[in-house]
């Protein structure tokens, strides 16, 4: 107990202030109920759309024989991509000793957990006979990237959940005695979840060791999840997918989408939760630079992805590229490539653009662009099979999503928002103990020990 008594009074008041700031927005208020009510109603509408699809089959969507992976799969890729931000922030930057990420690391994990948890459901929405889902496990082939994908997404979800939960333990212990404005059941939940945390140095030691192991483990897992997602496409010899760089192409694209998503969340929490003294302008500046870096790398992969097949122009690739550059998808393609990537890169080069508000607007554009980028990866290729399309109904030839399909696509997004809302409204979004410098002796011990 000696160490605990060493904490000066100054530190105690410091902790009081910080805990006060961060815990103020936590809890269920009228805003929370209104927002969750709105989300629930929207989700019910989406579920109704799914009910129709479940009963009548995929015929109610725009999916037909040629395009069997439409918006659903585009959305799936987007969800997996967005979830990768947890690994980039905590894993890569955390292990590199970038201490500035501390206040935003938990937000990144919340995003990771929310998107990874729902990604699997998105796949189910693309199944005509969802009740046959168990067949994937009963008759699944270990040779199929689909099975690999299911495996790594599950693993990543569990690791991300642990990476969110373990660093939350000290905060739960702090919060359970301080949340006077919260209902009693919340304190009970905190007490239960805090796993008898007493800020004992040995507990901190375990906390640091386990998170460190998880941070190392999360990097290959996250690389695997999005590389395998890219293989779902790249193992097909089809124009637009038949690429050897699809793994890194998807991975860097994921970092772009995830960084943009994190900036949006940071802006929301710093303004709405009044946490701007923790999530500062400097954090936005740094995240702006990170977004810039990832976007440049992604642009580099894009150039490779289009220039090399565009130079060779093998017949099928030529048809595919023509469709993107000047054909049916031209306006979407150029809007996404220029508006969602090139212009943001140019803007982010300037410091004023990395201030909170301008950066958030840019991030919003990039985030939406990322979704449509997935659409462009999935659908045009499916519309151009190698064999000629003959004697088929007109609606098979060009894919047009239906209203029901759109509602079913929005559903999972609502679920993501719900998960983020619950995790960020019931638990502190910024680590109190890290802000207050608790457990630092143990970190230093830990660092010295290495």
């Amino acid at each position: 107990m000696a160490q605990k008594n060493n904490h000066t009074t100054l530190q105690e008041t410091n902790l009081d202030n910080i805990a006060g700031d961060i815990l103020r927005p936590v809890g269920l208020n009228i805003k929370f109920h209104a927002w969750m009510g709105f989300l629930t109603l929207t989700l019910l509408a989406c579920l109704y759309a799914y009910w129709i699809q479940f009963n009548e089959g995929l015929i109610v969507t725009g999916l037909r024989d040629y395009v069997s992976w439409g918006m659903y799969l585009a959305s799936f890729v987007f969800f997996v991509a967005a979830s990768l931000i947890g690994m980039l922030i905590s894993g890569v930057l955390g292990l590199l000793g970038q201490d500035w990420i501390k206040p935003i690391a938990r937000i990144a994990e919340i995003i990771a957990v929310a998107f990874a948890a729902v990604a699997g459901l998105v796949i189910v929405s693309d199944m005509g006979r969802p009740e046959r889902l168990p067949y994937v496990f009963m008759y699944g082939r270990i040779q199929s990237p689909i099975l690999w994908d299911v495996t790594v997404v599950t693993t990543y979800l569990v690791i991300s959940l642990l990476l969110w939960f373990i660093p939350l333990l000290p905060d739960l212990a702090i919060a359970k005695t301080r949340m006077h404005h919260a209902p009693k059941w919340l304190s009970t939940v905190y007490n239960f979840l805090s796993l008898k945390w007493t800020h004992h140095p040995d507990q901190y030691k375990i906390l640091f060791r386990t998170t460190r192991i998880l941070l190392i483990l999360v990097i290959p897992t996250a690389f695997a999840i999005h590389t395998v997602t890219s293989w779902l496409f790249a193992v097909n010899p089809r124009a637009g997918w038949d690429s050897t760089i699809f793994g890194p192409y998807f991975l860097t694209g994921a970092f772009v989408a995830g960084a943009a998503g994190l900036i949006l969340a940071m802006y929301f929490f710093s303004k709405n939760y009044k946490l701007s003294s923790y999530i500062t302008a400097d954090h936005f500046n740094k995240m702006g630079k990170l977004l810039l870096l990832t976007a440049i790398v992604y642009l580099y992969f894009n150039i490779n992805e289009f220039l090399v097949p565009g130079y060779k122009l093998k017949t099928a690739d030529a048809i595919h590229l023509k469709e993107l550059f000047t054909g049916h998808y031209a306006w979407l393609f150029w809007t996404v490539q220029l508006g969602g990537l090139v212009i943001p890169i140019l803007l982010l080069l300037f410091k004023p653009m990395r201030k909170p508000l301008p950066l958030t607007i840019i991030a919003l554009v990039v985030f939406i662009g990322s979704w449509f980028k997935r659409y462009l990866i999935v659908i045009p290729t499916m519309e151009h099979p190698y064999l000629p399309k003959q004697f088929v109904p007109a609606e098979w030839i060009v894919y047009e999503p239906t209203l029901i399909e759109t509602a079913i696509t929005i559903g999972p997004l609502i679920m993501v928002l719900m998960i983020i809302t619950i995790l960020s409204k019931l638990f502190p979004v910024v680590p109190i103990w890290e802000m207050a410098g608790m457990g630092e002796d143990e970190t230093n011990d830990h660092k010295k020990a290495e």
């Binding site: 040779q143 693993t155 642990l162 008898k196 945390w197």
Partner: protein, 304 residues
């Protein structure tokens, strides 16, 4: 004026050319040709099979009008235009072909072509079937047969054509014989067709470089080409003159495309190892969480 004449000449030439394209003339003497057997359910079933393998890719499914967009169009076999052809005309067209319709002379046997015609005729409600009664099969008026002998040392295959007419056996000279080897799809000519000599004998070189079955057996068919003169006369034999070849099924060995029980070993090991390592770590961490709780419990007890 001269220009006008040239113009007229050219346009007429062009018109004639076009009409030649659209009209597919079958020589008079071949129009009336009939099948040598009666069409039956069996022949129609076989015909359907041959049709799907050889014709459907261009002509589509009869009645569906889903033929390929070629010039000139192949046409739907169930259409009135197509069925207007006499049996003999159809037979001639399939035998000879006309660009882009391929000739099937050396791909299908004559019987097989007749089987296809019997199948196509099942779409023709007005069709009245006529075939050659056995006695009228040939102009020769007797029964002709081919005997195949394998001259192993010489590496040759001898075909002897004999006829029996009015109880007298004779050698048939000057009859063209063709030797074919059965392949997976259709059959292959083994050398040029040849005419029998004075003794009714023709000698083919045995095919030397063809893959046979696992014992090197090749299925050979000798046939007289002049069906009008001799009727359908053929002899089948199987000779071990091919290269022994056993096609190993692609699903025998462990492979990426096989069932999960036959997954590649390296994949099983890598996948299981990766999953094991990740989840062993996760369980280790869960165990550490238990330790955190234990420490907490002890501390609380100490305070008490």
């Amino acid at each position: 004026m001269r220009k006008l004449i040239i113009f007229l000449l050219l346009t007429t030439g062009f018109c004639i050319h076009v009409s030649a394209q659209s009209e597919w003339i079958v020589p008079q003497e071949r129009k009336g040709r009939l099948s040598s057997f009666e069409f039956s359910d069996e022949s129609r079933a076989k015909g359907l099979d041959h049709y799907n393998k050889n014709c459907a890719s261009c002509h589509g499914q009869p009645g569906a009008a889903n033929y390929q967009n070629l010039v000139p169009p192949p046409g739907d076999p169930a259409s009135a235009d197509f069925l207007m052809n006499l049996d003999g005309e159809m037979f001639y067209k399939v035998m000879e072909g006309r660009d882009p319709m391929p000739s099937f002379k050396s791909v299908l046997t004559q019987d097989e072509i007749w089987e296809i015609i019997s199948y196509i005729r099942s779409y023709d409600p007005n069709y009245v079937h006529a075939f050659l009664p056995t006695a009228e099969k040939s102009a020769y008026g007797g029964i002709v047969s081919i005997t195949l002998t394998h001259l192993k040392e010489a590496g040759k295959i001898e075909a002897k054509v004999t006829g029996v007419k009015n109880g007298i056996i004779e050698n048939i000279a000057g009859a063209e014989v063709v030797l074919r080897v059965k392949r997976t799809f259709g059959s292959l000519l083994a050398g040029e067709p040849m005419e029998t000599n004075q003794n009714g004998i023709v000698v083919f070189n045995e095919p030397s470089d063809l893959p046979g079955n696992k014992d090197g057996l090749l299925e050979l068919t000798a046939q007289l080409t002049n069906q009008d003169a001799y009727g359908i006369t053929r002899a089948d034999t199987a000779l071990a003159v091919g290269k022994p070849f056993e096609a190993v099924s692609l699903t025998v060995e462990r492979a990426m495309w096989n069932t999960v029980r036959k997954a590649p070993i390296w994949l099983l090991i890598t996948f299981s190892l990766a999953v094991f390592l990740a989840w062993a770590t996760i369980f280790y961490i869960l165990h550490q969480l238990k330790k955190i709780t234990d420490i907490g419990k002890n501390v609380v007890e100490e305070w008490d």
